[in-house]
Amino acid sequence: MAKFVSETRRMRTTLLLPIVVIASTLSLQANTEIPIPEKPLQVLEDYCLDCHDEFEQKGDINLERLAINWADKGERHLWESVHHMASEGMMPPSDERQPSPKEREALLAWLDSSLLEHTPIGGTLPRRLSAEEYQSTIRHLFDLPDYKLPLGFPKDSEYHGFNNVGKGLVLSPPLMEAYTNVAEEIANTIYPPKRTTPPSTTRTAGPNDMVLSFSAGKVVDDALLLVSRGHEIFRSCSWPSRMEIMSSGTYRITVSAAKHKPTWGGPMKLEIRARELTASDRSRADIFRVLKVMDVPSTEPTKITFEADLYEGQTLLFRWMNGDMAHDYSKFAKQMREWFERDKRWLAAWQHTVFPNGDFSEIRGSVIRGRSGWEYLSKALADPGLDMSRATMDDPLTVKFLEMADSNQGMFNYADILCHYYFTNGPAMEFHEATIEGPLKLVDGPREILAKELQQRFTGTRQPKQSEIAFARETLETFLPKAFRRPVDEQTIDTYLGIAERHLATGNSLDTTMHLLVRNILISPRFIYRQTSPGELDEYNLANRLSYFLTQAPPDQQLLELAHSGKLSDPKTLREQAIRLMPRKPTSAMVQSFTGQWLDTNLLPEIMPDPKFKFSEAEIALAEKEVEHFFTEILTKNLPMTDFIDPDFHYTTPQFARNNYQYSYLSQKNNSVSNILLQFNLEDFHQEIEPILEKTCYSCHGPDEQKGDFRIDKLNPNLAEGGDDILWLDVMDMVANGKMPPAQANVSITEKERGLIVDWIAPIDLSKGSDYERSRSDIQKLPLDRGSRFGGLLAQSAIMTATANGVDTQPVLRGVWMLENILGMPPPDPPEDVPALTPDTRGATTPRDLLSKHTSDKACYSCHQNIDPVGFVFENFDPVGNWRDEWPKIDTRIDPSGTLPDGTPIKDITDFKAWLVDNIDHFSQCLSEKLMTYATGRVPNYSERKEIEAIVEANDEHGNGFQDLLLRLIASDTFRAK
């Protein structure tokens, strides 16, 4: 290890690298066996060969030999694992005779020096682009930022936890077929097949040829009625079923429409847009191009004719722009409130329809959406005996209804009923007929426009008099180095030019020739693979490695230029470039891809937590984002590695932290807001503020009623002792800002009273600064006391969820996960004959009892002494990471204690975190190895792990910043060797 410790020493080894590697390449070829020295040989004989000799070969391990051929990779792996088992004390098994410390040391020292000497740094196999890298490479190469791989594109397989490791990136026939298809698709995008002019036709759509969706339209007396001006097209619009434009062109469009039972004199306006027929019916109308806004002045049909361009795949879309009603909850609730105020019968009928029992025992919602609801409602309206006794604005039924109408879901249900009122009584827009004639002439649609842009980018402009073949050569000379991400020699250009020559010679057009070139370039191994150049990791390979590592994209112009001038490998330049490309946002491809794979959070979308945990899909998505924000924060701010384990912040929404991390903003000691609030006298609050709240708020949010399920009188204002901080602040804020009490409420607040509250809340507002926005649903950095049970990677919801199965927890699985991904001590594979642990449904035993065999059986113990403690310590976290004190079903208090591999006893998660902070290099080593695996596409070997060890140690001595560590890793031989 000492070999790599000092920085200057490292620089020297970098310079010496070519020689070292040549030497080791030679030694690879020399197939010489080196005898095992006497001392270690004796230790092997005395303590290992009883079980692992030629004859016994326990666990298929045979260590019986006098000399070792270190050039053999398999041999190196074998002795590496011997070193690992012996140094971790896993072998010999604890019930066997143990070597003395001196004997063990003799074995280890010999193995260490032999392994270091004979394991050359480097050795990544050519890597094909992973699916993610491939997609991103196509996006960059053709400047198609929205390009998505087709549905059904093969997935990459994982190798050592990552999908971009050379060994795991197998190229299979189905994948090659998929590459061929993508190449063809891209070629077709740049050079679309020739269009033929279709004959002009005339197509007509009447009211019965239109799409009716939800309550958007209804055919009444040979006309289609439209009533809502809502945004989502499937709630307000209609469009013809069989009028899909097959060829982009100019068309003559005729529309006739009339007013239906108008209640005012001005013109109704019919909006005519062009929609893509395959776009989602959930789309908002305003994403589609407006063709015309038609004035409809009369109850007699008006007809207009106009010409407009329509593109392939489009049809017409109709909406009544100035309709009475909208599918928008605030507007809908307002409309209903005003209507109730002026028409009590209307109010009583709605009460009757929505609350059939006159109370909240049954509330009809989605069940009566649309015509069903209208039938109930119109029956009630027509009923002479309709009970009007509760038709007042302050009746709880009215209040409840308006509340529901003011929410998204309730609005859809009831607005869809209201549509039917308008279908029956008007006003409505009457649509009679639409006719499309054409194409009158062809025009370029989005497809043709994009193709022309792409052609320009691909070939540039052809010079006058430039021959076709010269033009093709020029195109290849500029495009091939971009596509292959490195300089391309003459011979390669000639080969591709040969394709063009042959194709042109058989009478094909220049466009089809270019089309053919694209198809072929994109299936070349020079495009599909990286690191295919012979010899060392040269400047261009380094540019590629750095770029794909930090940005998941091909190297940009600046990197390629530096590579061209031979400057990139200069340590200073490399560092500058690494800093330039370093991810800065949680949405960076590197952050998402790396954390998703390292921490298995990319599995989250597939895990469906049992509903009893009340962990919604939105929370799963937030949990994944939290990891990305957390990682980015530590990286970009260069925070110490220990912050991964025990930081002084959460990075999520206050609401999420409150629901999942027992988080209370103001209970954090180091928090300026609470410091200020502590200065407030609670007595002052009771004297000055509470009476205002009592008078103004408690009538709706107090003992008698809890509008919005919200009760203020129960909130604890004693912030100094962990009162209801955020909720309470929200209340004060809403009053201070005039949002509460609502204008229509029967209570009022004087300006003086509001002033008192503003004064009260002002210091809090001033102190919140940039790191605390009170929006409860914004992801933000939340202050946290160190040493908490929550906080840091380990207890994050994403990780606790990813390491469980959504239903129950399995301490062994979590333990193995922690060893592999946090501590960097992957246990050997489990023996095959062990049955899976069956959860005990009778509930007689605890998980601990079930696993007691692990400690009683020596064969199990050698591995499980490491696995189980780091698994059981997380038993306090349920399958979605919420805290629990008892094991479910058996009402037994969870015992999370254990003894760590180094003999340290731990009581619980906080102990474990404290231990890990003290031994942070374990974690740093583990994360560094993961980063290097992801970056280099190979699992670090013995020598490389030793180099990383030295880097981790050096970084720890210099502040232990994460960004520093990453930069040191990029400067390492391991990163820079092929």
Partner: protein, 430 residues
């Protein structure tokens, strides 16, 4: 960390296990002689069926209108199935089966995937075994527009397969026009002839690298060879007579949601043609649904399809929902008619050799429950005509996967397990 579903392997099926499962079915009057438990050996004889058509309805089938009141033979057809009256002895209705899968729209794909959504689906297992015998190893179709990127069929790797939505696209694949054929031939010939040069260059690249890298690049050449072979096969077959048909599609594709039934009928026509011409043996068909309002006999229903599926047990809503589901069955009836009418030279009908599986991944869309999935199997050489009711509350009650094992064995796929199931329904259904 990947969660592996608990694996139940064949050895864990012991006698006790079987007895208990038999007990779960004792309620059935139709339990005939106690058969031998089916084994993979049963499949070694010539398969009794050679085509599989899997049909899944996104918004489910309302159980009360799908399940007959009586069990066994001679039941009265329930409302939803009423259009199938002519075929009552050509299909079997199953109630009480499911995959014990999670609930919700997000887990819908449990229909063909079993206990774990979005993994190797039953139709793809079958396609990987028997699909290669035809032009299209498997075909995925959908009718209607719904929420977009859902998939019903998943490859061994767990990749959701895209579905063809336009009848015209499927038609073009089955019966290529001259222009399509010319374009395809051009693409194949130009691609094939230029490939030599790309491979020359690739070979030059391979020669320049060290031996370990060279071996890795062999993967490229192996894969390329398979692409090359496929191209050559297609080129050599380019002049083979393709199936022809007099069948004509309408001018525009019925892809708007209100034309769902029309799209369904066209896809059924095309599927019958595909089977008749041996173009594919494994087809899956997804019936989507969202907010569209259907009109039957000129009367619009009281709510959109999705809205109706959330009926909350309102009888009027249920009646309208069932009328949509009955319309689906009308379309299915047309399909069964065609399969029954079309005969092979030896006189057997296409229906005899085709298993038609009709089901869903959602048992009760109103509650988003994925338990108790209504299932119907037609054709495929089974003894039909019964309603087989499974009491899922009994321990060891059979799973829907057990039925799938029986279906797969009928198709000659030698397997004893599927997802969380490792038995079969051979003793009840053969």
């Amino acid at each position: 960390m990947t969660q592996k579903p608990k694996e139940l392997n064949a050895q864990s099926v012991d006698r006790r296990h079987f007895l208990r499962s038999a007990a779960a079915m004792i309620a059935l009057p139709a339990l005939e002689s106690l058969p031998v438990i089916g084994t993979a050996g049963a499949a070694s004889a010539a398969p009794k069926a050679k085509n599989l058509v899997s049909i899944g309805a996104y918004l489910g089938w309302h159980q009360n209108a799908f399940y007959p009141k009586e069990v066994g033979r001679g039941y009265t057809l329930p409302n939803t199935l009423s259009p199938l009256a002519d075929h009552q002895n050509d299909f079997t209705v199953f109630s009480g089966l499911d995959h014990r899968a999670p609930n919700g729209h997000g887990s819908w794909s449990n229909f063909l995937c079993g206990n774990t959504p979005n993994v190797y689906s039953m139709d793809q297992i079958v396609a990987d075994q028997i699909g290669q015998r035809s032009r299209f190893p498997s075909v995925q179709l959908t009718a209607g527009t719904g929420e977009g990127s859902k998939a019903m069929s998943f490859t061994k790797q767990g990749i959701g397969l895209p579905m063809i939505q336009r009848p015209s696209v499927f038609y073009k694949r089955l019966f290529m026009s001259e222009a399509d054929k010319t374009r395809m031939e051009y693409m194949l010939r130009s691609g094939r002839s230029s490939l030599d040069l790309v491979l020359d260059d690739a070979l030059r690249l391979q020669k320049s690298v060290i031996s370990a890298d060279r071996d890795k690049l062999d993967e490229y050449f192996d894969s390329m060879r398979s692409v090359e072979k496929r191209m050559e096969r297609q080129i050599s077959q380019i002049n083979d007579p393709l199936p022809t048909t007099d069948y004509k599609l309408p001018d525009t594709d019925p892809i708007t949601p209100n034309l769902l039934m029309e799209a369904e009928a066209l896809m059924y026509d095309l599927m019958a043609l595909a089977i008749d011409t041996d173009s594919s043996h494994v087809l899956s068909f997804f019936i989507d649904g969202l907010g569209q309002v259907f009109s039957f006999d000129g009367v619009p229903l009281r709510s959109g399809y999705h809205g109706l599926s959330h009926h909350g047990n309102d009888p009027e809503m249920i009646r309208d929902l069932v009328s949509i589901e009955t319309a689906h069955m009308h379309c299915l009836n047309g399909f069964l008619n065609q399969l029954k009418e079309k005969k092979r030279p030896d006189g057997t009908s296409l229906l005899d050799e085709t298993i038609v599986l009709v089901g869903t991944g959602m048992g009760d869309a109103s509650r988003h429950s994925n338990a108790d999935l209504p299932t119907l199997v037609a054709g495929g050489g089974f003894d039909h005509g019964k309603h087989i009711a499974i009491d899922a509350s009994k321990p060891e009650a059979p799973l829907l996967g057990d039925l799938y094992i029986t279906l797969m064995q009928q198709l000659g796929v030698e397997t004893n397990e599927f997802s969380n199931a490792n038995r079969n329904l051979n003793q009840l259904f053969s």
